[in-house]
Symmetry: C2
Subunit: 768 residues, 2 copies
Amino acid sequence: MSAASAPLYRDAGAPVADRVRDLLSRMTLTEKVGQVNQRMYGWDAHERTPEGHRLTDAFRAEVAAFDGMGALYGLQRADPWSGVTFADGITAADAARVADSVQRHVMSSTRLGIPVLLVEEVPHGHQALDGTVLPVNLAVGATWDPDLYEAAAAGAAAELRARGGHVALVSALDLVRDPRWGRAEECFGEDPYLAARFTRALVRGMQGDGAAYAPDRAAVVLKHFAGQGATVGGRNSAATELGPRELHEIHLVAARAGVRAGAAGVMAAYNEYDGLPCAASRDLLTGLLRGRWGFTGLVMADGCALDRLVRLAGDPVAAGALALDAGTDLSLWDGCFPRLAEAVERGLVSEDALDTAVARVLTLKFRLGLFERPYVDEAAQQTSQQPELSERLARESVVLLSHDGPTLPLAEPSRIAVIGPNADALPQQLGDYTAPQRPGTGLTVLDGIRAVAPPGTEVAYARGCDLVGGDRGGVAEAVALAAGADTAVLVLGGSSAREADTRFDSNGAAVVASGAPAGMTCGEGVDLAELELPDGQLALLDAVAATGTPVVVVLVQGRPHAVPELSGRARAVLCAWYPGPWGGRAVADVLFGRAEPVGRLPVSVPRSAAQLPVFYNAKDHGYRGYVDQPATALYAFGHGLSYTTVEYGEPRLSRTQAPVGDPALTCTVAVTNTGARAVRETVQLYVRRVAGSSSWPRVRELRGFARIDLDPGELAEVVFVVDADTLASLDRALEYAVEPGEVLLETGPSSDRTRCARLTLTPAAAPG
Amino acid sequence: MSAASAPLYRDAGAPVADRVRDLLSRMTLTEKVGQVNQRMYGWDAHERTPEGHRLTDAFRAEVAAFDGMGALYGLQRADPWSGVTFADGITAADAARVADSVQRHVMSSTRLGIPVLLVEEVPHGHQALDGTVLPVNLAVGATWDPDLYEAAAAGAAAELRARGGHVALVSALDLVRDPRWGRAEECFGEDPYLAARFTRALVRGMQGDGAAYAPDRAAVVLKHFAGQGATVGGRNSAATELGPRELHEIHLVAARAGVRAGAAGVMAAYNEYDGLPCAASRDLLTGLLRGRWGFTGLVMADGCALDRLVRLAGDPVAAGALALDAGTDLSLWDGCFPRLAEAVERGLVSEDALDTAVARVLTLKFRLGLFERPYVDEAAQQTSQQPELSERLARESVVLLSHDGPTLPLAEPSRIAVIGPNADALPQQLGDYTAPQRPGTGLTVLDGIRAVAPPGTEVAYARGCDLVGGDRGGVAEAVALAAGADTAVLVLGGSSAREADTRFDSNGAAVVASGAPAGMTCGEGVDLAELELPDGQLALLDAVAATGTPVVVVLVQGRPHAVPELSGRARAVLCAWYPGPWGGRAVADVLFGRAEPVGRLPVSVPRSAAQLPVFYNAKDHGYRGYVDQPATALYAFGHGLSYTTVEYGEPRLSRTQAPVGDPALTCTVAVTNTGARAVRETVQLYVRRVAGSSSWPRVRELRGFARIDLDPGELAEVVFVVDADTLASLDRALEYAVEPGEVLLETGPSSDRTRCARLTLTPAAAPG
């Protein structure tokens, strides 16, 4: 057979659509089903041998069963759930070789030689041995720095590709609308605009521009579509009660941005929307996503999510048909999609529908260049800048919640007591979805303070109490330490650190049926009802504060805990989220003034669980508060102090009236550093609709922000371009439009400290 | 002019539709606007004189302004908001005369002589001086006795008509989906089926059967349509985030039942649904209510609700047009509908739309017979049985939450210490929306105990603490009393009692901006964040329990407070809700065993505000609970103990398989009184869909209940007829249908103690 007669799908020069069509026409029903199948846990595909790694019989059988494999999930995943450790897992040194051996087997042992997609969890760095851990998304959101995150996302993609991975699963679309949810840490915050900015940065960083993927770029599947942040009671993967407008205004904004940025895929969420789990919602996956938005990428199911549809559909075959018909293309671990051939044969779903899904999988493989370059590109290997980027993100994510003025930064040599269950526990500053770390990786807060403190500083440490529970056994030692110190740094908060004895659900979520997993208060499957810190931590704080030694509290946490009592007992409170391996250094840099606190809250800090929900962009009904406490946040969205003082002028508009058809104008605000230290200020722009909108308006909505550096005494004018995107709201048809009426353009340092200018949006002239 | 030439609309024998058409054709635009206007506070329409009452100039001016008056709200309303007291208000003795003078003026001073509708608040009895107060709806819901409530509703209607009122505004449609909401007391509970049963009873009781109203029946306007129980955070009149399915499955069920029963009207709720306040929602008021449901009655706006639409529409004229176009027929206190003539003239809404609304108002007036019998029918005056019915409802509403067995009933003469801020405060057992009571009306719990206790019983009383706050000043006295007693009855809970210095919003809701209204924890505008009892009450309980004297707690409250700590300190806990004026006697009857505790929870009792929402019919996602507390109720929906023991057999089905087209069968359960006292048992029937439904099922759904009396040792078989109504669920088109699949039919004494039988629903045969 001459080269000219090679099948069209092998022709790298042919249009992808033609190659897909050609390949599809050659496939059997079984081969097609194989392409939408992602049943196997990747860590079961290989095993360590004295000589290296070898492929398992189970893997070979899975490939043989469908004469191909659509995707393999988590070949390199390592964590307590998978049970993979440095003893048996794939390290950076082995990764490319193992990945290539998987690929080689799939391509060489199947009739058509279609490459497999290697899919990996990259929620905040690749969840693999030697994968560089980034701060969790909630910390990323606190940086308000999408450019920095884009760089880190690019680095994570390069790291993934250098190890043979192709597709990164990344949480991006969920919002913290209820901080009881254990996955709050995976969200960029509570705000749709902020999440959209980071989602766009994520897609650009990981995928790059253009239709094809460079060898150091990865395809992104955005998690989760849609509304998962709105589950009832903050309960993981439960129902939402969302209506269309709330879904569109709040929960779909980031997804729309990700789709516009070209995301390769989205993952259908566990939660139901309007009575149907997302993977079964044709309205969402086909009507909205493909129809209205024109999305051409892949919809992947969440782990075992299709198995849950058996309850609706009656059996696994019908459940697979239901999901495929709704618009799900690729399954994950479930027993439904592997039986799609039966579904087609029983007439439950058409082979055309299957072809459509297969085509989407194949298209991604072509776009990734896997037919031409199936193996790791050795030239793409490079020295990673990821640890530095991780530390920079951590440094920028630290939010100074409260401060009495003189206590921070800690400049002079002194005696510092570092106390608390999160002061010296590296796993507790990493967040969920992290692999075991090599000994010596990273710095705890205690490490960071020791590394950064001026010469002559005495640093002493006591743990003080357990992370959870009410034990007071360690309090006395901590009090003694604090009493003899000039400053006590109390490192409190939460932990998502899985342990070897944590019990897991079939999808990797922690199981909490029989009480708290030891030492955990956060992460997937670990929802909290009450948001206070555990009793032991509060008792420790009380006791240390009672010594009279000035207390600085550092919160290392994956959700905003309700800490109304902290400000009275602490001279300063810093929130560091889960800052990653190098977060201890980042925190210390801020404590000692080697870095300014530049983080801003991406989420409201509530006063209590009893006042939930709390977010700045609530509907504007002028609610006066509960009789026993306000309905507002303790610390508002956008809040974050610095070590200097900054004054904001009134915003000034280039015009105060604009037609809806062409509302371009500028909004300028003067910002002055009136203090004695340099500052990086995050100037925020909100829109508040006051009259004439087609649906009930929110209190305010973030629509822009700018970060500026100001030396002491320096004044800068920040100019926001205000255009149709800034001013658009959802009209009655749920389309974005600029509606006539009155709006306020508000600028300020946080959502609760804004000044405003009024803009009149005049109706379009009636057609003459 | 001969009698034969009298206008058609005056012809009592002509069809109502013809009369309406004829009358409309004679009306000016101003007269039409007058018919949809209900601007005036009724208490401003009259004033007390030494000789009696006289109409005010303001009233005459209002009638003159539109040459007619559609409706007059609250002529007889008396409460701290209206400021009406026995010093200046309308008593039962005056009422008919004053109402007739209003009617006479309207009919005689206007061109067309159209009678006015006299509209009154009758949330739990007519909110007027001498109106008989019933227990609040939440107590009514706890009776699980719609027949008794129907009788009480009929009595309330007769009382209203005898005083000249025509239209009763009654809360019925809201559900307690968040007990933080201050209006929880106005709901029949959390469950749509239970609320629907009581709503139907309400409409039947008040209106009677048939198209015309008997002289002792009143027209009912059901409050509120729709979804008001689902406002975000339990915040009064805020947004809901509801989607269509949640709205239909939960929040519309009672409204649908009320419409089917022939309710004269519904009140559009304050809250927004999918971005629009209900009064502006054409989808709800026209598409659903009139279109799909075929409702032909009246939609009334809530108080000042249309004024809120100015923010959307731009000005009051446009706001009125928006509401009219949506389907609102009659306004309340707002400044929008009175300007509808301008809206028609500006072309914002058609005169046809106005005519439609006017026709609905006129139709009700014709159906009430007001053109023929505009004045109070003296023959309809009768001795009211209402106090007896009120006390019966109260007695049946008492729920025994927990009990150690021997403590209750209190049979022998003994020393009883009656303690607590709700023990002897009549206003605090009445609930919101109540008029001032005549001295000597009713019995407090203390009064009731004194009245009922066996001869020789020593009853002593101490208040112990304030209802709100943490003051411990009265604890010592209470402890001393308890220490010397054989039993301490602690009467704790909440209060919705308005006081003269309570501040009010323009719609009568309490204003809580600047801290708690003195002494109130509940009622309209008084939402709570935390659900525990106030500190002072808990301290009192602690101290009294520490004496070792057996403690019986009686909760008098308008919402389910979270009381996880009570059961450990109290031998028995009774929930009496707000039982009305004679509720103290009802409670005492139960305490002393003169009545059995037959109430069952119409709402879940949560463990804390942190675990909200809590309801038995949550979506069935197998949620395992928060890491720090369960997600389930402390006391489940349907729970309620008795003074005996009852055993339930397995439910037995007359067939275990049924076609969806004809699913008639019976479900039988044997119930045995295994104890030593007679019991009235509420046998509950739940449906649980386990496979094959078109949307995600709930844990279980109440679909039937039966109340049976059993003597000691007696066994009874309860037979439930299971039919399409029992088994229907909302299909994909949001229509009720029996869907094929598997369901469990569950019977038991509460939602958390059921046994089940499996039923297979087979698909309809394919058309041959």
